[in-house]
Assembly symmetry: D2
Homo-oligomer: 349 residues x 4
């Protein structure tokens, strides 16, 4: 940490900063400059509160040199985190994982039809919301436990792993019981009570980036999960807020190489929420794979026009077939392939 002094800071001001740093239990290292002096704080363990220093006379600003997260960082663990799901699919390695399914689980027929089709196309993980966080209280809020039972049925029938969102402590427990991956949605990225529950549930967690979360905040949110003992965390870029509404959100694909530089955790992209329009999903799914994403999550619905939520951004099964062909070709061009389920899981399916 570096405490930058104002141009006209007095000798006393500088000494007071150094003394305060020492009083806080760290070393102080004054660095004279041409325009101004700075005082380095040495020994920062990531817990230093800068408020006390910021308020001392003569202080211009405080610059944080160290990152506040630890276990999620590549400096803590240089090798990529790779783990295997119940159906044998490996996440975070050389293969690109395909996640697909409807926005919401609506009926047995809908979820089974979709599961079979996306599995045939090459997906290995089924998505589908049972608990839906909706901006308006008047929108469809999901089937709840019944939706989870339908997802479990689809898993049994197809061998697909299941990812679905939890909104509160009770939901975490239910999702951990019926599904394979607990999803934490963008609106809940900084719901720390929920992050802690998810980290204790014993299942991998898919953590979506908040609507205006920085990469640093995303990594700190993941740190909450790792601190509870769950290291199988998948990060997900799903678009951030922007001044231009030509798309629903601004899909920040540079987040993919940025996260890979800073962290060992796998990162996937969600081009459906990232763009909000069906015709933008295939180009942005291709772009995400080209940028190095470890997986692609898209919405597929047998009849998007009658979907109870997010129909406008759902692909038809035929469109999904075409997309898988394209992303497979791009993955290959970059020396990767599409993740396949373990043989045994396929046999069961």
């Amino acid at each position: 940490m570096l405490v930058v002094m104002k141009h006209g800071a007095s000798r006393e001001d500088i000494d007071r900063v150094a003394d305060t740093i020492r009083e806080m239990g760290y070393q102080a290292e004054p660095i004279p400059g041409r325009q101004r002096t700075a005082v380095g704080l040495v020994g920062n363990d990531g817990r230093v509160e800068d408020g006390r220093l910021l308020t001392l006379p003569g202080v211009l600003r405080v610059i944080h040199v160290s990152q506040p997260y630890k276990q999620v960082s590549r400096e803590w663990k240089p090798d990529d985190t790779i783990f295997e799901l119940a159906n044998g699919v490996r996440v975070g390695g050389r293969d690109v994982v395909l996640i697909a399914g409807p926005c919401s689980v609506e009926s047995e027929e809908q979820i089974l039809r979709t599961a079979r089709r996306v599995r045939a196309a090459g997906a290995t993980i089924l998505r589908g919301g049972a608990f839906k966080p909706r901006t308006s209280p008047y929108s469809f809020q999901g089937l709840g436990r019944e939706g989870l039972e339908l997802l479990a049925l689809a898993r049994q029938e197809t061998g697909l792993a299941v990812v679905t969102e939890a909104l509160d402590a009770e939901g975490v427990e239910l999702v951990a019981e019926y599904g394979d991956i607990i999803q934490i949605g963008a609106r809940n990225m900084q719901n720390y009570a929920l992050l802690r529950e998810a980290g204790r549930a014993g299942k991998p967690v898919l953590l979506k980036r908040g609507m205006s979360a920085t990469i640093k905040e995303l990594l700190l949110a993941a740190e909450y999960i790792l601190l509870e003992g769950e290291s199988r965390v998948i990060l997900c870029e799903r678009g951030v807020r922007s001044f231009d509404h030509h798309a629903r959100n601004l899909l920040d694909l540079t987040a993919i190489p940025s996260v890979k530089e800073l962290s060992h955790l796998p990162i996937i992209a969600d081009p459906a929420h990232g763009t909000g329009r069906r015709d933008k999903v295939p180009p942005m799914a291709r772009a995400a794979v080209a940028a190095g994403a470890d997986g692609i999550m898209v919405e597929v619905h047998p009849d998007p026009a009658s979907a109870l939520s997010d129909g406008a951004q759902s692909l038809t099964p035929d469109q999904y077939d075409d997309l898988v062909v394209e992303v497979t070709a791009i993955a290959r061009a970059l020396g990767r392939s599409i993740a396949r389920p373990a043989e045994s899981a396929v046999a069961e399916g």
Copy 2:
């Protein structure tokens, strides 16, 4: 709702849109234009999902004419919402309410000293965090129930009403027991489970705008609370994300007249979180009152340099005294005054 057709949309495309609207149970009203045709959907009750229409051939985009919120809107209730707290302070009326206190409750001495000083200066509501949502899991997380007990003690001693944040269902229950107003923080503005709990707790709710929430989303979040039966909701502008980090957040004071136009709910400003630096708090607090805010919430700490959180944006008690003099003068210039507690409450205090 208006479905805008593409330039070259065929007669068939237009008819299909009209038929679909009728099938959904609404009236269709084609409006021919010079460059393109649009089809109006008449009878929108705020529950129309546009996904089905967006996906029809020939459709360019769907424009929402009606707002999706109801009970929070000024059209639903033209008169300002005004209500009285336990200590007789009226919120939402002609008077400007002053809320002050430390970021976190740290000790009995700290909270009592602060409460007495801010009350002497003119504040009528005490703020102080017992449960702290922190971006980093390594930061101070609050004293919990003990903090609530100290707040209750300060209330008893001073007659100040107490506002403090709840992070989960259990917290809502505790805050409702010990405090006067339940605060929902910016990170939880779209934590719908929490909003519902707060709406059922029988106490007024202070709802902070999310870090990148639109005014529309803020009002929809408040709608969740009103739908549970709690109409005493105070909205709070506390700054939004911006590309420029000259301040911690970008305090959007235009939100004040915008909310007042759209809704009957009171709105206050939090210039401490909105700017992040002590020296920016007084000018922005003054500006908020000048813009028409119904209240001002600021952080005051007897010794900011030793605060466990947010010290850099906390005022000293002396600085707070000066600020109250300034905002009082501005309120008067606009024909308002500073809210006073009821006589009896003062006597008790």
Copy 3:
């Protein structure tokens, strides 16, 4: 255009709006709704000023249904704009165009070495700044006319076409004399005097998106150029401002399919300015091609560490070789190829 009335607008208010529309020379078409009435303005030729209507009593807001641009729109010209440069390279068609070169022209040796290397790698257009718009007046401002002469020399030696930026009317004339494509930078996207000059210079124009320009504003800026008679315009996505500074800008690749939907003009991406860090350039260049970009512009410097500007985002020639191999593979996976110069031009080179 649609004039939406407030909930309680009176019959008189609605009539006044309709009368005003007729007075302005258009047709008025009232559309009754369940919650509110709207009045359609029919016959909008893109020149309607909404100010007059917005200010009438009872008006809530005005919704623009038609886009304000014309000649740049796909509705005006459904087929993609494709054109050929002096060296036979076709822009806007099936092939992806590679543009490469240093940020600034620094010396004869530097520009010739770079030109030969990028041409060998597969580039067909050479970039290099002679006039540099710099945020700080103390930064290197470019070699000016001497830089243009060096670019012309490099063109003669290699057969590469040359694109370089103009900052004012005099610069447009010089760039049109020495170069093949006139670049308008992000800071000047709404410098309308400059856009008009560029549109009259008789050379194709490369127009970069402004730092916080919407797609609509980008298309309107291009409209200024087309209106002067120059239809050979290449749009360029180069990243926009964001709240998160994990990269220099937020590269908005969804702009590529969005522009392709709305306009017939070719669009390329600039991942160097879009990210600001060399290690992010290859993944984002690949992503741009995967998203459907018609070209990729990157910075290549024989010795980035000694570059006078933007060294941190410049690739070495070896890194560029690798990048071309990757984007070629992705282009092929999507049924496209990399643009080649005409045989004759190669022979000359």
Copy 4:
């Protein structure tokens, strides 16, 4: 400047950074930390290009401690810049300056009527566009030189000083001839050729913040003007781009205390462009004065409904009268007053 090394940077990496710094002509000062080493660059004169250092092996990032601007900074000149216009009005001192007038000059009657009314209300500077930068080429572009002649006539009749925008070199010359203050608009904040022309024209310059310009970029743009010898620069906050379109722009009033901390230049606010709606102008004008603005620029039109541009954000003369009463009361509450013209100028008017 501080070069932060990666966690695992080798001794050699660190030495190479130090050597490079010395080679560039500065002192190197290694600072060992607990998690990582940093190397300070001492002697930074504001011209250091960080590209060379960023690209060295083992470097994580480069932190700029010094600000790149000089003459605009408060460290360069601690006292506020105060100057007097031709009509005796002092800008930048204790008094708040009122600037008012129509968006565009439309006719002799319109500009004279407006000038007389705003002068009677208390304004001392007349605004009015003769050259209009318009997003769409199909919008009204201003009366040009005729508009300037009408402004000069209004000045002669009323004693008001005149501020009006210049779009190019020729415009700067004309505005300097007919007006008192040359306005550089938001779209041209980084049009460096124009900034230099304005800085050489011998008249004060009103520089508006760009639509997504940081405070640092605004100050660097002003530095271009000061470097040409013109120190009478007025900065203007006029709203920035935001994700929420509840208002046309997001008026960033915290920019006022931020600029006052960093620079000695006066700063005013433009709440009309900052909000885009007439009903938001009075509250935000009041808020700007409360936040410490040195002036307020608003649009006033005798008949907003028939304005050729920006009618929706223009006040009527009666509304302006009310606003002046309010801002006068707020200025007084803060110990300031509204600027008055010199006696002689009033007599002339």
